[in-house]
């Protein structure tokens, strides 16, 4: 990215979506990172995207014991319990 390119919050928000979890220190990210460091709006967006990922990571559902029994029966392994 050229240094004289005037970036907008939208550019940064797009980039956050592209690079979250990747290397924000790469040369092409430097200008965007500098904007992010000083822009409250983009920081809030970054935080909300990170939290979106986090809540889906935390949300777990377990298979029931009935599902477990059906699975072993389906595979013909129910005698291995």
């Amino acid at each position: 990215m050229k240094k004289d390119y005037k970036i907008t919050c939208k550019d940064v928000m797009n980039h956050i979506c592209d690079t979250l979890g990747e290397d924000l220190n790469s040369p092409t990210c430097t200008t965007l990172k500098s904007h992010l460091d000083s822009c409250e709006s983009c920081q809030k967006y970054y935080k909300s995207i990170s939290q979106t990922i986090l809540v889906y990571k935390k949300y777990e559902l377990d298979a029931s014991s009935d599902s477990h029994k059906k699975l072993l029966k389906f595979l013909g392994l129910d005698d291995c319990e």
């Binding site: 979506c17 809030k44 909300s48 995207i49 986090l54 889906y56 990571k57 291995c80």
Partner: protein, 190 residues
């Protein structure tokens, strides 16, 4: 006995070892299948088909990748196949990138992720929101962001190019974030 030793036994036809592998990964596979299918019966069916594939082809498993990686690949493709065969549901188009990010719609979020698992109401909201996302986006989001696959591993698992994975991931993240904004965002907009 470590996982490689159990796999080696299973490859020699030891059914108890196979059963052990199933038990080791059934919750992981079910959870992942549910997050993509959003339906208990479909998740159960996908779990069964995934482990059937494992039982049938455990001899071909070379150990170059982790067994979990291989299982995620199988379950992802089962989910996508099932979604393709059921095209009745129309999903919101994510083609318009400009509509996905609106700088005027940025709010501070207030959530406590650690308490999230105990909150059934919020779990229901997460279900409803991700159901709106087309399965081909869901799978990318799940593999890359939730399971921690690299972009390249995600691309390989579901037969997409790296740019296609990046594009889908970008749109999936922005879409989910927008949909959850009314639940987690403060009322005061910037």
């Amino acid at each position: 006995m470590n996982e490689n030793e159990i796999i080696a036994k299973a490859q020699k036809g030891d059914r108890a070892a196979l059963s052990k592998l199933v038990k080791m990964y059934e919750q992981t596979v079910y959870n992942f299948a549910y997050k993509i299918c959003r339906d208990k019966e479909k998740a159960e069916h996908t779990m069964q088909e995934t482990f059937l594939s494992m039982v049938k082809s455990i001899n071909q498993f070379s150990g170059k990748s982790k067994l979990s990686t291989w299982l995620y690949t199988v379950v992802s493709n089962h989910c996508l196949m099932m979604a393709r065969s059921n095209k009745k549901h129309a999903y919101i188009s994510l083609d318009d990138e400009d509509a996905l990010i609106d700088p005027k719609n940025i709010t501070d979020w207030d959530i406590a992720p650690d308490k999230f698992a105990e909150n059934k109401e919020l779990g229901g909201i997460l279900d409803e929101v991700i159901k709106k996302l087309a399965p081909e986006y869901r799978v990318v989001f799940m593999l890359r962001d939730i399971q921690g696959f690299s972009t390249e591993e995600t691309a390989e698992a579901i037969g997409l190019s790296v740019p296609a994975v990046k594009s889908r991931l970008h749109r999936a993240r922005a879409f989910l974030r927008n949909e959850l904004n009314s639940t987690f965002g403060y009322e005061k907009r910037l």
